[in-house]
């Protein structure tokens, strides 16, 4: 891990953000298990250091595109629990007025262009966002989050080619959690993942996605360089999802051994590791950390209670937002 004590506040914020993601997911899972949440959702637990390490290197004006496993990105980019839980429950006060749900959550105010239910579907969007920045002379950078499984989509190769040709300020962040759905990555991805980007002349890195400081240090550097027109870049982040592919994927030993899950949780958990480091380095005491955890738990509980009691959108909203500039598409 990196040098300590240079930036106490930054470290504590990174810790806080990781715990906020884990806590959000624990609550979302409970909502599913108690049948209070419509549909299914994909948990980000285990991968917190990826979203936080990256997003803590971004400014509000920087953009991200997210995935079906998108709650972590959304929290890390600055979203509030209340609007997020409202969205997951299909309530009017959700980020997308209940129209998007877990798989389409977007937070315009913080530069989150949206989760995406089409695997790889956001790669064009992220590249286009970087294109805008360059064309309009803005210095924002876009990070495109996607999974290892998404590297199979042809779109990725089309847009990486253009991004490289035009030196766009985009960072492709591949969250390699070892699985896509119920299949191991090595069964569906031939060759090396970073070499895919290198074939286009894109500088590619592999990093331990369970080490928030390593992720953050690398991203800080790449973001700064991308702002100077040295992009695009590619990062493969080695990580692990703790839950099933989605909350309903409970009996999963046929494709993933319990022992493997245990091993990752017990020896490589990004939050436990970082917490240990914070204490060791004297950045925070156990008591301070416990107090922070407790505060986050209380925050989440209040947001869940609020969202459960919040109202659904009025049915008249059903044909709103089909077209910009048309209040009711079917009126």
């Amino acid at each position: 891990m990196a040098e300590a004590r240079t930036n106490t506040e930054d470290y504590l914020r990174m810790y806080r953000q990781m715990v906020r993601i884990r806590t959000f997911e624990d609550n979302a899972n409970q909502l599913y298990l108690s049948a209070k949440m419509p549909g299914l959702t994909h948990m980000y637990s285990g991968e917190e250091a990826v979203a936080v390490g990256i997003c803590e290197a971004l400014k509000v004006a920087d953009k991200i595109t997210s995935t079906h496993r998108g709650h972590g990105h959304c929290v890390a980019k600055g979203a509030a629990f209340r609007e997020m839980f409202c969205e997951l429950l299909g309530k009017e006060e959700g980020y997308c007025r209940g129209k998007g749900g877990s798989m389409h959550i977007a937070d315009q105010s913080n530069g989150n262009l949206g989760a995406n239910a089409i695997v790889g579907g956001s790669m064009g969007i992220a590249t286009g966002s970087a294109f805008t920045a360059r064309m309009l002379g803005r210095d924002d950078v876009t990070v495109c989050f996607f999974g290892d499984g998404a590297t199979a989509q042809g779109l990725m190769y089309e847009v990486m080619n253009m991004a490289a040709l035009w030196k766009l300020p985009v960072i492709y962040a591949c969250e390699n959690n070892g699985y896509s759905e119920y299949t191991r990555t090595d069964e569906i991805a031939a060759g090396s993942i970073t070499a895919r980007a290198e074939a286009f002349g894109i500088e590619a890195h592999q990093v331990d996605g369970q080490d928030v400081l390593a992720v953050n240090a690398l991203t800080q550097d790449l973001v700064a360089r991308a702002r100077r027109g040295e992009g695009p870049f590619f990062i493969e982040l080695m990580t692990y999802r703790y839950h099933g592919h989605h909350v309903g994927d409970i009996n999963r030993e046929y494709y993933r051994a319990k022992a493997e899950e245990q091993e990752w949780k017990e020896t490589r958990d990004p939050i436990t590791r970082f917490r240990g480091w914070l204490v060791e380095e004297g950045i925070a005491s156990e008591d301070e950390i416990e107090a922070m955890n407790e505060e986050i738990r209380a925050d989440a509980k209040a947001a869940v209670d609020y969202a459960l009691a919040a109202k659904y959108p009025d049915t008249s909203e059903v044909d709103m937002h089909v077209y910009k500039g048309v209040t009711h598409a079917l009126a």
Binding site: P38, G90, G98, V119, T183, V318, V322, A329
Partner: protein, 331 residues
């Protein structure tokens, strides 16, 4: 007669055809050990092995194109497209390649492949996992399109599709996988282009596709209690379409409602209504009414989603108004 689920019916159809013809194989994402997210294909890899139940990367245009080439050269692929919404990813291979190859080659090349996918909203899966896109492919000459409405049709139409020398797209309703229906033991083949009169009636014809057949039957039950006898017809395939059966019923009852879960505009309901208007105009006492899914992307919030699809009560209400002679315009 024994009853099996729609999911079992599909599984049986595939197993029987794969035993009968060694050139039949299945290809798609998580089709082998996982047996698809809906568990429809469970057990097939155990019997037929991974050479004939082929797990792919998440590369829909890639495996669709591969299947087209495989079909042109002596095999009979059954492509598993996890969600009907992913049709947009495979459209070039399906519509520019598979659909036109026989024609463009002057009848010399054939593409005997089946694309199995699904349709249907109200699963709280939001706009990219809930669409009913069969009208899109029905629009393309060269493709046949089947819409099973129960386990019996799911089995009989799939077996016929596999034996057909043309590309066939079959849409299963993902909400119906666990619905049981009587299916006889032994060979079940349902010819394409033969509608099924599910219920006879003299006052009004309800033409329904896929899960909308159930909706029409439920509506007919409501109407019958009020003394209105509705005839319910399931076309079973929309390409080819059994016009004769639909026209005969329209001439008999003089009133028709067409119910389908695709978007109402530019869809299946409009096509069938137009054909009835063209060929049975002088027998009609009312305009043929279209009832499709609301022309909005499928919203996530349950409060909104449920009002976007036709319901038995909605169909019954429109039927009453037609029978009473009220001129109504489709909403």
């Amino acid at each position: 007669m024994r009853e099996i689920t729609l999911s079992q019916a599909v599984n049986e159809a595939l197993a029987e055809e794969m035993r009968r013809d060694e050139t039949v194989f299945i290809i798609g994402e998580d089709v082998a050990e996982a047996g698809t997210p809906f568990k429809v294909l469970s057990g097939l890899v155990e019997e037929f092995g991974t050479a004939r139940v082929v797990d792919t990367p998440i590369a829909e245009p890639g495996f669709m194109g591969l299947a087209v080439g495989a079909a042109m050269t002596g095999t009979r692929p059954v492509v598993d497209l996890m969600f009907g919404d992913f049709l947009f990813l495979v459209m070039d291979q399906l519509c520019n390649q598979a659909a036109k190859t026989h024609y463009m080659s002057g009848g010399k090349l054939t593409v005997p492949l089946v694309l199995r996918t699904n349709l249907g909203a109200t699963r709280r899966s939001a706009a990219q996992h809930s669409q009913s896109l069969h009208a899109l492919v029905a629009h393309i000459p060269g493709l046949k399109v089947a819409l099973p409405s129960s386990a019996l049709e799911a089995k009989g139409l799939l077996k016929t599709a596999i034996r057909d020398d043309n590309p066939v797209v079959i849409f299963e309703d993902k909400l119906m996988y666990n619905d049981k229906a009587p299916v006889p033991e032994g060979e079940v083949l349902i010819p394409f282009g033969q509608a099924n009169v599910k219920r006879e009636g003299r006052d009004i014809t309800l033409i329904g596709t896929s899960s909308m057949v159930q909706v029409c039957e439920a509506a007919a039950g409501i109407l019958s209690a009020e003394g209105i006898e509705a005839e319910v017809i399931d076309p079973r395939t929309i390409v080819p379409l059994d016009e004769a059966t639909l026209l005969a019923s329209a001439r008999k009852t003089s009133r028709v409602i067409v119910v389908d879960e695709g978007h109402q505009s530019y869809g299946i309901t409009g096509e069938i209504a137009a054909r009835i208007n063209e060929r049975a105009f002088y027998h009609l006492d009312a305009p043929v009414l279209r009832m499709g899914a609301m022309d909005v992307p499928v919203p996530f919030s349950p409060a909104l989603e449920d009002i976007t699809v036709p319901t038995p009560e909605g169909v019954a209400e429109n039927a009453r108004r037609l029978v009473r002679g009220e001129m109504i315009h489709a909403a």
